[in-house]
């Protein structure tokens, strides 16, 4: 089992993540990329800015990765979250897992993403084309 967890200000190299997860013991690799959407509902996004409480974010990502690994038989896993300013189309997060079987790889990757969205201390601020900025803090 190999594992890489990273917060970064650089663009995310998803090709390298997939190659790192490739292994003869896996029949399935699933890569998820979260990308910045230009339109959400009726709101337009000029750019997003991501901020993290890095030490706790890294620890929490590691716990999520470890829990998923034992639950889904993950062979290799990489999670990279980008921080700083991102424009529409850019990748904010990438999660890549390899598993012996495909149902597990899909379930693992999706559950990891759900957990990240719930508990990892990372926040985004949306800036509209009019220059209005709002930190996003979900209410549920």
């Amino acid at each position: 089992m190999s594992m890489r967890i990273k917060l970064t200000n650089e663009p995310i190299a998803h090709e390298e993540m997939v190659e790192n997860c490739r292994t003869k013991s896996a029949g399935a690799i699933v890569l998820f990329l979260g990308t910045v959407r230009e339109i959400t509902g009726t709101e337009q996004t000029l750019f997003l800015e991501y901020e993290a409480f890095a030490p706790v974010a890294e620890k929490t990502l590691l716990e999520i990765a470890e829990e998923a690994t034992s639950k889904w038989g993950i062979q290799k896993i990489e999670i990279i979250h980008r921080l700083g300013i991102l424009y529409p189309g850019e990748t904010s997060i990438a999660v890549c897992v390899s598993c012996p079987h495909r149902a597990d790889a899909f379930a693992a990757c999706q559950q990891i993403m759900n957990k990240i969205k719930e508990v990892v201390p990372i926040w985004k601020k949306e800036t509209s084309p009019k220059g209005v900025s709002n930190w996003i803090h979900p209410k549920n």
């Binding site: 508990v119 990892v120 990372i122 926040w123 985004k124």
Partner: protein, 82 residues
């Protein structure tokens, strides 16, 4: 009284107007009590505070955790990463 610091992120930092706040509080104040003190000091923080998580010295804690001298508390509003 003990001295602690509280660090704020995202929307909470914007409301408080700074990254870090040094505070004098009674020894063994709980996180829940600290949260009430913060809302008293910054009423606009209330909505974020009710859904916030807290870390002490970089470890996530429950709100019944008691604070001691030099603790660094992180006020973590509802997250929106990913």
């Amino acid at each position: 009284m003990i001295k602690i610091s509280v660090v704020f992120f995202a929307g909470a930092r914007d409301i408080v107007g700074q990254n870090r706040l040094e505070m004098q509080i009674p020894a063994l104040t709980s996180i829940a009590k600290l949260r009430a003190l913060l809302i008293e000091k910054f009423p606009q923080l209330e909505s974020l505070a009710t859904r916030a998580a807290f870390a002490v010295n970089e470890i996530l804690v429950l709100t019944d955790t008691l604070l001691v001298e030099n603790d660094e508390v992180a006020f973590l509003p509802a997250v929106s990463g990913g």
